[in-house]
Symmetry: C2
Subunit: 188 residues, 2 copies
């Protein structure tokens, strides 16, 4: 998908070819050859991976607002991380279905309402996939998390003010959760 | 760096070993074997890559505030993207030096003040590196971008209100720029 206008031709590259060079269970490494706006060829390393969803679940209770968040270990940072729930789409799933399912599995909250805030690139320099941000409300507690065999997570209720105040400091270390927070603030 | 407290032992994994399995010019793919909180072993695919900086440059002019942003092609998304400037640290460079250098090279603005907002993980599930967010002010125009051979970018001045209103829609598609915006809003 190219978002361009006629004024931006001097910035736009054209893909010449692509080939997969390495596969893992999580992503595929691809090499692209593309032609620059001035006609030179360059090669670029890209990651293909499934799209995934991040859900901001808002619990309203006695006039107070709480985010339903999860605390879990992350193997890239090798730290704990306090995050909005979310996860990778399953085959054939609509984005909002994936978001609602991940919310239910990770937190045991079922969303009565779920609304897409935005679809963005987690890192358009090297990643070809998209992250879909959702806002969930009208939450009902089902009583049971349904975690994968290698998932260990605690559910934590936190006020929006506390999340905004602490974002960027441990355990709020996941930059894409800060992105979700910006979209929440934008939505007002 | 493990941020933990004694209550979180049931969430914490221990690394058993690691090995690099594929190298590209941009990142190295690593496989980690780690032991779960309940003692099972699992393998996880991780990306090692250099740290990088994102800089929010604020231009104050006749009582008006503008972000200095760059419009450029991104090879992962294969779209144009309107972003805060930034880039990868060079060897031996301090984070704030890298931020100031990238700002100067990409936009031709020299920062009189530069302040770190936060250091986060761009995606702690799979990436081991960090992204460092800075706020830059007291900007002086030097007159000349210094772009790499494969960099083509336009400098664009945008009000913070316009960026907040449009974040998440093209050309504001880079989620880590939304993260930067959240940290800007947090800083007040």
């Amino acid at each position: 998908m190219i978002h361009e206008d006629s004024e931006n031709g001097h910035l736009i590259w054209q893909e010449e070819n692509r080939r997969d060079i390495f596969k893992t269970k999580v992503f595929t490494v691809r090499e692209n050859r593309s032609r620059s706006p001035t006609g030179e060829s360059g090669t670029f390393t890209i990651l293909d991976a499934p799209d995934w969803a991040i859900v901001i679940p808002v619990l309203e209770k006695a006039g107070e607002r709480r985010f339903v968040m999860v605390r879990q270990w992350r193997h890239g940072s090798e730290t704990l991380s306090l995050e909005f729930p979310g996860g990778v789409f399953e085959k054939g799933e609509e984005p909002s279905e994936a978001a609602a399912r991940e919310l239910r599995e990770e937190t045991a909250y079922q969303a009565g309402r779920i609304r897409k805030l935005a679809e963005m690139s987690p890192n358009p320099a090297i990643m070809a996939n998209r992250v879909h941000f959702f806002l969930a409300g009208d939450l009902h507690y089902t009583g049971n998390q349904e975690l994968d065999a290698d998932e260990y997570m605690d559910v934590v209720l936190v006020s929006p003010e506390e999340v905004l105040r602490n974002m960027g400091r441990p355990p709020y270390i996941h930059a894409l959760m800060a992105a979700a927070l910006a979209l929440y603030l934008q939505a007002g």
